[in-house]
């Protein structure tokens, strides 16, 4: 594999983690439009840790942990708002984080942090695999049944003896942790971080991965992030028309499959099986 391809694959990993971050929060009907903010916290924490001489994997873990705590803290007030208002609040959170890193003296301000030790691709793939495996197992657990019930009817869930509050806050913590890992990976892959890398656009794309791929299945954000990361690369020949092309793809997709490429109950296997049957 060429360096270019490996780099692309790392970018796919980062974006899948970001998509997963949005997905787990959205599973309890909490739209997190501040993924970039969480990502920044993870990136800066991991970068500062590595610059202080801590081994990379430990730094990634620290970044994840710190972002999880931030996620839990955001999850608490997030309970008071819902729907579009929560989306706005998390959006604002992303903006605030970006500007905080612009002024924090030990984070390099607008110059950013340079000289971050580089990470081996295999380490990136391993961490992504562990995180995805963890989320996958979670979606197969008894706990996920609670998550789904809260998605369907929060009130009925609490009347069925479930502590809805702790479920929703934990999902925000998990959302933070996943975006934090994406940030840590980003920092050590590009060996340089600056506040503008964690712009609103990153948050919006993270949400798009889920909307495009499907928000009710584990495979939705995986497929969504992969396609939306690779598509622009393969469309390089279109030059200036590329953003328009991506936009059209998104629109067509939303018209043809409004609830995303992969729906509830459509596993990757059943989707492939259908393809095979159709072509035979």
């Amino acid at each position: 594999m060429s360096i270019y391809q490996v780099g692309l694959l790392v970018q796919v990993c980062i974006n899948i983690l970001l998509g997963m971050s949005v997905y787990v929060a959205l599973s309890t009907r909490q739209l997190n439009l501040g993924a970039a903010g969480f990502m920044a916290v993870g990136a800066y924490t991991a970068a500062l840790a590595s610059l202080a001489g801590i081994p990379i994997s430990a730094s990634l873990f620290l970044g994840m942990l710190a972002t999880m705590v931030v996620g839990l803290l955001i999850g608490l007030p997030a309970l008071r708002v819902s729907g579009i208002y929560l989306a706005m609040a998390t959006f604002a959170f992303g903006l605030v984080v970006e500007s905080i890193f612009l002024v924090l003296p030990f984070a390099g301000q607008a110059r950013g942090l340079a000289g971050i030790p580089p990470v081996e691709p295999i380490v990136v793939f391993a961490w992504t695999a562990i995180a995805l495996g963890g989320v996958f197992l979670l979606t197969r657990s008894q706990f996920w049944l609670r998550v789904r019930s809260i998605h369907d009817d929060e009130f009925a869930a609490s009347m069925s003896g479930l502590n809805v509050t702790t479920v929703k806050i934990s999902m925000f913590g998990l959302s933070g942790a996943l975006a934090g890992l994406a940030g840590g990976v980003y920092a050590h892959w590009f060996v340089y971080v600056e506040p503008s890398a964690f712009s609103v656009e990153v948050s919006i794309f993270a949400a798009l991965y889920v909307i495009f791929g499907g928000s009710r299945s584990f495979w939705g954000p995986v497929v969504g992030a992969t396609i939306l990361t690779l598509l622009p690369e393969y469309a390089r020949g279109l030059d200036a028309w590329r953003p328009a092309f991506i936009g059209v793809v998104l629109l067509v997709m939303l018209i043809l499959r409004p609830s995303g490429l992969i729906g509830r109950g459509t596993s990757l296997r059943s989707l492939l099986a259908r393809r095979v049957r159709r072509s035979s």
């Binding site: 008894q142 049944l145 369907d152 009347m159 069925s160 702790t166």
Partner: protein
């Protein structure tokens, strides 16, 4: 089979929304094995009363005592776990969950979240014990066993209403609160539900139900409490209540010719 054990007792229960007293000094009790009907015109405060009992609202004044302990002011999910389960006037199922998943969810609701993370979804609950024998017995009795792998949103209307009761039963409650359990059901289904409610009370459950269908109330309820404008008008057997002029007044207005 009504026993002497008082399950639920409200004292001077009131709640005020702005200037309106939606529930005003209501006092009633439900015994184990007893079916109590809660009737009254629309907007009388019946559902609000259920919401007070289940902790959705905190009373402005008064107390709710369940199984010898004060429960007003407790959070809803703990009240549910302590033995009060309910259904809803407008069906509130988990659309994307199957019948069996509703059972799983309610049966396991007291398990800690952390523990539930490490439980990979169990597939078979059929033999777990319930008040009606096993889960399989319960689902069979409610006509839901053959539909156990079906998603709630695909069930017929009547079965959806029944699944709400089943989900409530899976909390292993002592007291069942049913908010218009037969609304929208045809006559056969209504009578089927009446039989099921009688069966549950024979098994020792206390039942408090809101209902408009008077024949249904007459068939199922041991006692009836009548509420209007948040106030309790009267309590008595279905027969007594039906003849009470104050009840007719509440439903029809006071200058109506009843003859």
């Amino acid at each position: 089979m009504m026993s002497e054990k008082t399950l639920l007792q409200t004292r001077d229960l009131s709640i005020q929304f702005g200037g309106i007293r939606a529930v005003d000094g209501v006092e009633f009790s439900v015994h184990a094995g007893e079916v109590v009907g809660l009737i009254g015109p629309n907007g009388a405060g019946k559902t609000t009363l259920l919401n007070l009992i289940t902790g959705v609202y905190k009373p402005t004044s008064g107390t709710v005592i369940f199984d010898g302990r004060r429960i007003d002011g407790r959070v809803p999910h703990l009240i549910a776990r302590s033995g009060i389960a309910r259904t809803f006037q407008n069906i509130r199922l988990f659309r994307s969950l199957t019948v069996m998943e509703h059972v799983q969810l309610a049966l396991g609701s007291a398990t800690g979240h952390l523990k539930s993370v490490f439980q990979l979804k169990p597939t078979d609950h059929a033999r777990d014990a319930t008040v009606m024998g096993s889960v399989e017995d319960t689902l069979t009795r409610f006509g839901l066993w053959d539909q156990r792998t079906q998603v709630a949103s695909e069930l017929s209307y009547g079965l959806q209403r029944k699944l709400e009761i089943v989900r409530a039963l899976m909390l292993q409650p002592q007291l069942l609160l049913l908010d218009e359990p037969t609304a929208g059901m045809n006559e056969d289904e209504t009578m089927e539900v009446a039989d099921l409610i009688r069966l549950l009370s024979d098994l020792g459950l206390g039942v408090l139900l809101i209902e408009h269908n008077m024949p249904f109330v007459g068939k199922t309820c041991d006692r009836v409490a009548v509420i209007n404008f948040g106030k309790q008008i009267t309590t008595g057997s279905p027969e007594e209540v039906r003849r009470d002029p104050r009840v007719l007044e509440a439903y029809l207005g006071d200058d109506h010719d009843y003859s």
